[in-house]
């Protein structure tokens, strides 16, 4: 009973139920939604957001925010695309952009942790710089004509059901989830966001952890950029515009607190899957595509608000019961 209770109270569980709910409901309206093709498409499309949300989770846990990920995604995507187009080794190119993404993250982290600039301002600034750099780097032109070997893996399937990229994603996400929830160091991220001064007092290297969170966010944004280039096959100037909002929304959906201290990689990834599922479901429900953003936004608010309301209700109920117990227990003593 207790195990069941604790599972239900876990945000990851609520989110999973919600995801299953979407599948069932949309599946009733349009059974095509439940086919392997559709599910595979959703899983492919969500990879990008899973990576972004994963990186973002670390930053949010420390009580900060990173809105520059769209810029890092765009620039790193453009760089890896031009490199492989011009015949560079893809592995080498990937390592290079990952390094570059980490470097941008490092700059963000140094600005926030050392210079003390509020994270939203710092990353908004780097976002502007990165957006400008994309245009300068590409000369305003699309990067296309990528070689097939670079685009192919994104459609490669294992056992006819598991996309190669999805497998790689799982191989990255699962250890990270264990790291962040079970390991000693992983808990440092939420500790910094939970109680900064308290973290200082127990000897947690708060500045290093903050910087590391931004580095991870940059790294994952670069990885997402590479996935984007491989999956879509071209990069535009506007690639990644507004994507940071989807990443943040995925995290919030998955139970990562914007004020820091609560959340997990698994939750954020589930949130990313839901965001993609909603977009995809709208197609199957034959809703005009121009409504996509508005509906996603409304659903996001609905989910988060209802979650908050449920938690507030249970918390207040518990408080009332506790207070009432106070009165009664004491009476027995008299």
């Amino acid at each position: 009973m207790n195990i069941l209770k604790s599972v239900i109270y876990k945000r990851e569980a609520t989110v999973s139920f919600f995801l299953i709910g979407i599948f069932i409901l949309v599946g009733i309206v349009n059974p095509d939604f439940l086919t392997l093709t559709s599910i595979d498409l959703i899983s492919q499309n969500s990879i990008l957001y899973i990576f972004l949300a994963t990186g973002m989770t670390f930053v949010l846990l420390t009580g900060n925010i990173d809105v520059s990920v769209g810029g890092i995604l765009g620039l790193c995507g453009a760089i890896i695309a031009t490199l492989v187009r011009d015949g560079a080794n893809p592995i080498f190119s990937l390592l290079l952009v990952l390094l570059l993404g980490s470097l941008f993250g490092l700059i963000n982290g140094l600005g926030v942790a050392i210079a003390g600039i509020p994270s939203i301002i710092m990353t908004l600034g780097t976002l502007g710089i990165l957006r400008g750099m994309i245009v300068v780097y590409t000369g305003g032109k699309w990067v296309e004509n990528l070689p097939d070997y670079f685009k192919n893996p994104s459609s490669q399937m294992l056992f006819d059901a598991l996309n190669v990229y999805m497998l790689i994603t799982l191989l990255i996400i699962i250890p990270l989830q264990i790291y962040i929830s079970k390991s000693k160091r992983g808990r440092y991220f939420s500790a910094v966001g939970d109680n900064y001064n308290g973290a200082v007092l127990v000897g947690i290297p708060v500045k290093k952890i903050t910087i590391l969170s931004f580095v991870l966010s940059g790294l994952f944004a670069a990885l997402a950029g590479s996935v984007y280039a491989s999956q879509i096959g071209f990069i535009m100037n506007s690639t990644g515009v507004g994507i940071e909002m989807i990443a943040i929304a995925s995290c919030v959906l998955g139970g990562v607190s914007l004020s820091g201290g609560i959340g997990s990689v698994a939750g954020a990834s589930l949130g990313a899957v839901i965001m993609t599922t909603i977009t995809s479901a709208l197609v199957y429900l034959k809703v005009d595509a121009s409504w996509n953003n508005a509906i996603s936004g409304m659903l996001l608010i609905t989910i988060v608000v209802s979650d908050v309301l449920i938690h507030r209700y249970t918390a207040e109920r518990a408080k009332k019961i506790r207070l009432a117990a106070h009165v009664e227990n004491m009476e027995i003593g008299q």
Partner: protein
């Protein structure tokens, strides 16, 4: 040649902030199994000294020896490695983590090993601790216990307690003293920072009095009396305070009868009938103008819940609250303020101050919707703030200073000023002297007396029974959510009050 090497020796420490000297050559020694009390008023440099020990600040000059070898304390984790642990005044736990996670976080050994060691420590000390509870469900006393366990698991040889009892109830204080006694026998050296002189005599083995960055007197506790400590503590201009505190130690009731002026009419202002809500039930009481009604009781007896319900913050179940005979039960808080009640909340940091704002903005926060139409009346705001800064002698550089940069006592005076700025006829004061030093405490007492003499009605909530005894004209004792007994000033004694509050009424 058989001099014992002290556990910790601080020699000639100097520290100043922007040419403002805070510590001017401090020397302290701490031996194994000693409890060294460090007492001093606001701004005496106690916290700065302890922060230097924790590696949060760096001393300008001076040396620190641990077990006879010189160390330079660079950062908190370095101090922790050297076996120094600070139990802060307000526990610094991670609210979203379990007790166990809170204790072992930041340590390098393997988790399993730490868990085993932790269990051994808990067993050895004989404490009852649930390791799986989330930290935000713990009482402040329990949080402190977690902090102590953190220190012990880190093999701390030097524990620093910063005002540990300021948020504890009577029973919890006794428990803490027992724990400190246990720690003493384990050979741990303890710094005990406090402003409660009684505790110094109860728990300390040595005492250092710190004033304006200098140790004014120190030595074995047996060589001291309360008067001697106070002499070391209080500056000469503050003779009045010294009298007051000295008297307070001996005779709880220091208010002269002549202070109760005759021309203040005593009439009923607030009447509460069979008032029931979450955490309290069947409350009947009245508050009169020109009087202080003390509401005594231990933490958890429902006093704060009652106050919040009167003030319209919590929903109520049944019963009525009458102000001047008019029913105000369940009105909105803004309406209740307009009708002449204001409330000083228990938790200053959580509910009292706007930490990022200036003293002026804080002082005027309550009157915003009363005095200003659309544009804030800046001149009037300045008037109000300078009036309260003068009246309560709040120590600030100017009215635009950020409130969180003030000491606890001065912050509290600002909050009291804010509460008074709406000119309430009834003032509910919830733990008005929690976590502030002796000097500020007597200032607050004086303010409360003044309010009473002005003919205002005061509902004083406090866990400090001495405070209740000193100030109140009548006393209601709450226990288990209801007021179990009432006393007038003449018939009350400390024993009876304590008995009633702990539910031992006949």
């Amino acid at each position: 040649m058989k001099e014992i090497i002290p556990l910790l020796s601080i020699q000639n420490i100097y520290k100043s902030f922007a040419s403002n000297p805070v510590l001017s050559g401090v020397n302290i020694r701490l031996n194994r199994g000693e409890v060294v009390a460090v007492i001093g008023g606001n701004g005496a440099g106690k916290s700065t000294l302890m922060k230097i020990l924790m590696g949060i600040y760096k001393a300008d000059s001076g040396t620190i020896f641990i077990n006879g070898s010189e160390v330079s304390l660079m950062n908190p984790s370095h101090s922790l490695d050297l076996g120094i642990y600070l139990v802060p005044q307000e526990p610094m736990l991670f609210p979203n983590m379990t007790v166990e996670e809170n204790i072992i976080i930041g340590m390098n050994q393997s988790k399993a090993e730490l868990k085993r060691e932790l269990k051994i420590i808990i067993k050895k000390m004989g404490w009852e601790v649930s390791l799986i509870r989330k930290a935000d469900t713990l009482s402040i006393a329990e949080q402190q216990l977690v902090e102590i366990l953190r220190g012990l698991l880190r093999k701390a040889r030097i524990l620093i307690f910063d005002e540990p009892t300021s948020a504890l109830t009577f029973r919890e204080v006794n428990l803490l003293f027992q724990i400190i006694e246990d720690l003493k026998h384990q050979g741990i050296g303890i710094f005990y920072i406090t402003h409660r002189l009684k505790e110094v005599f109860e728990i300390a083995t040595e005492v250092y009095v710190l004033k304006d960055g200098i140790i004014t007197s120190s030595g074995k506790i047996d060589n001291f009396t309360e008067e001697l400590l106070i002499k070391g503590l209080i500056s000469d201009e503050d003779d009045k305070v010294s009298e007051l505190s000295a008297e307070k130690g001996e005779h709880p009731v220091f208010v002269n009868d002549k202070e109760i002026t005759e021309d203040v009419r005593i009439e009923k202002i607030l009447e509460i009938n069979r008032f029931t809500g979450y955490g309290f039930r069947d409350i009947n009481l009245t508050v009169n103008t020109g009087q202080i009604l003390g509401l005594a009781g231990v933490v958890g007896s429902g006093r704060t819940e009652l106050a919040e319900a009167i003030f319209g913050l919590n929903r109520t179940i049944s019963g009525e609250v009458l102000l001047y005979g008019e029913d105000i039960t369940g009105l909105r808080t803004s309406e209740i303020i307009k009708r002449g009640i204001n409330y000083l909340p228990e938790d200053r940091h959580l509910n009292g101050i706007f930490g990022e704002s200036s003293v002026k903005i804080n002082l005027n926060a309550s009157t915003l919707f009363i005095d200003s139409k659309f544009i804030i009346n800046g001149k009037k705001e300045s008037e109000i703030s300078s009036r309260y800064i003068q009246k309560f002698s709040i120590k600030v550089m100017d009215e635009d200073q950020k409130i969180s940069s003030l000491s606890g006592g001065n912050q509290q005076k600002v909050v009291i000023g804010k509460v008074l700025s709406t000119s309430p006829q009834l003032i509910i004061l919830d733990e008005p002297t929690r976590g502030i030093d002796a000097g500020a405490r007597s200032d607050v007492y004086r303010i409360i007396e003044q309010l009473k003499n002005d003919g205002r009605a005061i509902l004083l909530i406090s866990s400090d029974f001495e405070e209740i005894l000193i100030l109140s004209d009548r006393i209601e004792v709450m226990h288990g959510g209801t007021n179990v007994r009432s006393f007038t000033r003449e018939e009350i004694s400390m024993d009876q009050l304590t008995e009633a509050a702990f539910g031992l009424v006949g």
